[in-house]
Amino acid sequence: MIPFIIRRLIWMVALLLIISFLTFVIFYTLPSADPALLRAGKQPTPELVATIRQQLGLDKPFYVQYVKYLDRLVFHFDFGYSYQNNVSVKSQIFDRLPATGALALGGMLVWLLVGIPIGILAALKHGRWPDKLAMGAALVAISAPVYWLGLVSLYLFSDELGKFPLFKGQGAYPSSGNIFTNPGAVIPALILPCLVLAASFAAVYARFMRGNLIEVMSEDYVRTARAKGLRERRVVLRHGVRSAITPIVTILGLDLGILLGGAILTESVFNIPGVGRLAFDSIQKSDLPTVQGTVLMGAFFIILLNLVVDVIYAFLDPRVRY
């Protein structure tokens, strides 16, 4: 196991390097705005543009910029300085991680608590109306884009705009502070965003769980368990669900990793200042260091959680050995 983890960690570093290089290449290849011109005002003189270009390090060749970036990143854990906000990228990302983390974990909690039981119920009532109802609802939830669902939920349920003002709205999170310093204000502010974020995930997980469980429940060992006279509840939970849930752990790791890199749409709709919104803003403003930082952070979480999932897999499935 240990050599496997070490091997994966080495791959992780290599992957992050490749991703950082690709982000650099994409930024230089695609026609994004010129950061120096953006900061130079309405009628910039060539000298002013040149000075700003020099300040931002954009006067150097592409490879020099990249090597310098890597040097700072690898040896100083320094993601650089935001062109747009004039602060270090690292401080921006770490400032915004709690919001993204709280949203992602809260969403995950909701979709697991909703999606898994519904999936189990649908599998056990396979072909009957509870199954049809659950899968119909899942289809709707999967089909609804997050930004649309977010806006509709704001207009229906937020305390600022809603017809049924049940939850805190768009202005709640920015005025509530940090999950660590003020959880009493932050948690209510995250309820609606978490529900919206979780909707499509819950639907996917319910469908996935249902499919897996239907398949597992027709296995010989399940029939054997029933033949042994075990209670149906025990058969379902111990023999069926335990087996059917294993693949879900894999996608859970991936999904959580992606969300920790920033739930861009949910954060934008609900104005939650997380890593996703930071990434969105920085892409719009051609703020390469921040784009790099958020992309690397997202990639880091995805790769790390993949590793964690692989390790957990070994414990869940005795057949898996590394």
Partner: protein, 599 residues
């Protein structure tokens, strides 16, 4: 080319200064030949409730807090509430500045080479500096803005004539400027190389004149770029919350700006009433529909930095929440620019045909219709001197292709047929060329909608477009503002005032001598010798009717060259919640936090 730009800018400043001097020295506000002061539709209340906390819903962040660097509307909103410049504008008059840190109007020597300004005693910096402002602080504010660490967007352009100012601004380190002298703590003298005192005086309204304490700021200014932006100290009625070292803990870039009262501000030295106790700018409200609805339905809030609310929201608000809206003339023109260097737009008749065929009213509807501005027929907008002389709202309508806002297919066909005689491929009164014309449009509404309407109308006239949408910033910095990008049509360009002078509207945008290889704003790349010469001549005409007429004539000459389709002189709609008395400043065309109050 550069000399020409500086010369024309200088001349326009000269003209604008004359208005300033007239305003300071006389009660006659119509010295410019026509009464051109932009009146916001919200008048300043005589008295208002003291106290209260507001939330301002913003899409993005300010460009800078540092007065040496900020150069955009939203930044100005924060700057003029938190800092005091030598001169500034009251909300309801964007033409005639009033003394702010200064005690009176600038004293200009007979040879126009020296400006003396006396400053008020008793104005103090916010904590942690806590001392009285002296003229040396203003001197340092200027000097730092010429360094490479503080790349000011206009220091060289407006103040480059000061004796000892670096020949190449923003390329070197700090050095004192000998031409800025401080004979005592309350007097600052500007010595100029050339007789440009009138125009330099006019620019003393710019943020660069806000004092900066050298002993405090220098350590930040030694870094490149300067980090003073996150350690600014303030002289205005408000300040951004800071800690004991001066670090702006109240600002988290991209998230919030917490503006609180400056404990060292003395009302007796200021014309601002400063009713509010605190303003929190909540950033990230990029969805204008949601943000404006939140303000209209909510309490203690203002909106929006990113433009007017979307048309459906605005339409509803006009009928239901009229007293929550303020319309501020933006002092600019939006237009669709054709690249006159690209075929077939190098043909004058083709350009005239397009203008004639365009339904400008339909274009205006994409921004919200008549409530958000008049259909434009030229480039001197309402509120700018020369507007009346140009014919007001009817300017250039003597030209048949600009006569009908809804477009005139017959006139379009007439000009297209004339173009056909000059070798342009035309069939049945429509363009019949096969090349796809590169058209770069913005990817965000309402500009995207405007571009799509324009696209449809151009296709009706027979043009085939290579229609691409990009972010607005990319549009300017990589395409429309870069001649070598060879963009044929830019449907989302517009030009807005730096100050109220017709030259400032026409010179940068249509003078062929001002075409730049990057950051170009003469988007049609119009280079007509007659227009260039007329501009040079008009730039030195003193302020008054003659100047206005000269520029009005140039406005007509430009229209005769048909380089673009002007379609709206727009207004910005600002929104306040029902318990807020929102006041807008006509100079920077957004809310004036120092005059806004709770009801």
């Amino acid at each position: 080319m550069k000399r020409s730009l500086k010369w024309t800018l200088a001349a326009s400043m000269l003209a604008a200064l004359a208005m300033f001097v007239a305003a300071c020295g006389s009660s006659n506000k119509s010295s410019g030949g026509s009464s051109t002061a932009v009146q916001t539709q919200q008048t300043v209340p005589a008295t208002a409730k003291q106290g209260g906390k507001l939330t301002y819903l913003a899409a993005g962040d300010v460009d800078y807090v540092d007065p040496g660097q900020t150069y955009y509307t939203f930044g100005y909103m924060v700057l003029y509430a938190t800092n005091r410049t030598l001169y500034s504008f009251k909300p309801d008059d964007s033409v005639n500045p009033v003394p702010d840190l200064a005690t009176g109007k600038p004293e200009i020597s007979a040879d126009n080479k020296t400006i003396t300004v006396h400053i008020k005693p008793g104005v103090k910096f916010s904590p942690p500096v806590n001392r009285e402002v002296t003229s040396k602080d203003i001197k340092y504010a200027f000097e730092r803005s010429f360094t490479k660490q503080v790349p000011s967007g206009y220091a060289g352009t407006y103040f480059g004539s000061i004796v000892g100012a670096p020949a190449k601004p923003n390329t070197g380190n700090y050095k004192p400027i000998s031409g800025i002298q401080t004979p005592d703590d309350h007097t600052i003298v500007f010595k100029l190389k050339t007789a440009e005192a009138p125009m330099v005086s006019q620019a003393l309204v710019m943020p660069i004149t806000a004092p900066v304490p050298k002993e405090y700021a220098q350590k930040f200014d030694q870094k490149s770029p300067s980090t003073y932006d996150s350690h600014v100290v303030f002289t205005g009625p408000y300040m951004i919350k800071n800690d004991s070292t001066g670090k702006l803990v109240g600002r988290t870039p991209g998230k919030t700006i917490d503006i609180v009262r400056n404990p060292n501000w003395s009302k007796s030295t200021d014309y601002r009433p400063a009713y509010l106790d605190e303003v929190v700018i909540e950033e990230g409200n990029a969805d204008l529909t949601v943000a404006s609805r939140r303000v209209l339905n909510g309490t203690a809030s203002l909106c929006c930095d990113a433009g007017s609310p979307p048309a459906p929201v605005l339409k509803q608000a006009v009928s239901r929440n009229k007293d929550q809206l303020i319309f501020v003339p933006s002092g600019g023109t939006r237009y669709i620019a054709f690249n006159t260097k690209v075929k077939p737009f190098d043909n004058l008749n083709v350009r005239k045909a397009i203008i004639a065929g365009m339904d400008r009213n339909a274009l205006r509807l994409t921004r919200g219709g008549a409530i958000l501005g008049d259909v434009a027929s030229g480039w001197i907008p309402p509120g700018i001197p020369g507007f009346e002389e140009a014919g007001g709202l009817k300017q250039n309508t003597d030209l048949d292709y600009l006569a009908k806002p809804q477009g005139d297919p017959a006139v379009a066909a007439k000009y297209m047929n004339l173009a056909a005689k000059q070798g342009v491929p035309v069939q049945n009164g429509k363009y019949a060329g096969t090349q796809k014309l590169l058209t770069i449009a913005t990817n965000a509404d309402p500009g995207k909608k405007t571009a799509e309407v324009a696209q449809g109308q151009l296709q009706n006239l027979g043009f085939k477009l290579n229609f691409r949408i990009v972010p607005q910033d990319t549009l300017y910095t990589k395409f429309c503002g870069v001649p070598k990008a060879n963009v044929a049509i830019c449907p989302n360009v517009g030009w807005f005032k730096d100050f109220a002078d017709p030259q400032s509207m026409l010179d940068a945008t249509f003078n062929g001598n001002n075409i730049l290889q990057q950051g170009n704003v003469n988007w049609p790349q119009l280079n007509d010798p007659a227009i260039n010469a007329a501009m040079k001549k008009a730039s030195i005409v003193p302020v008054g009717k003659a100047r206005n007429e000269a520029w009005a004539k140039i406005n007509h000459m430009i229209a005769e060259q048909a380089p673009a389709v002007p379609w709206i002189w727009d207004k910005t709609a600002l929104v306040a919640s029902k318990d807020v008395q929102g006041v807008a400043n006509g100079y920077y065309t957004t809310h004036d936090l120092s005059f806004t109050s709770m009801k």
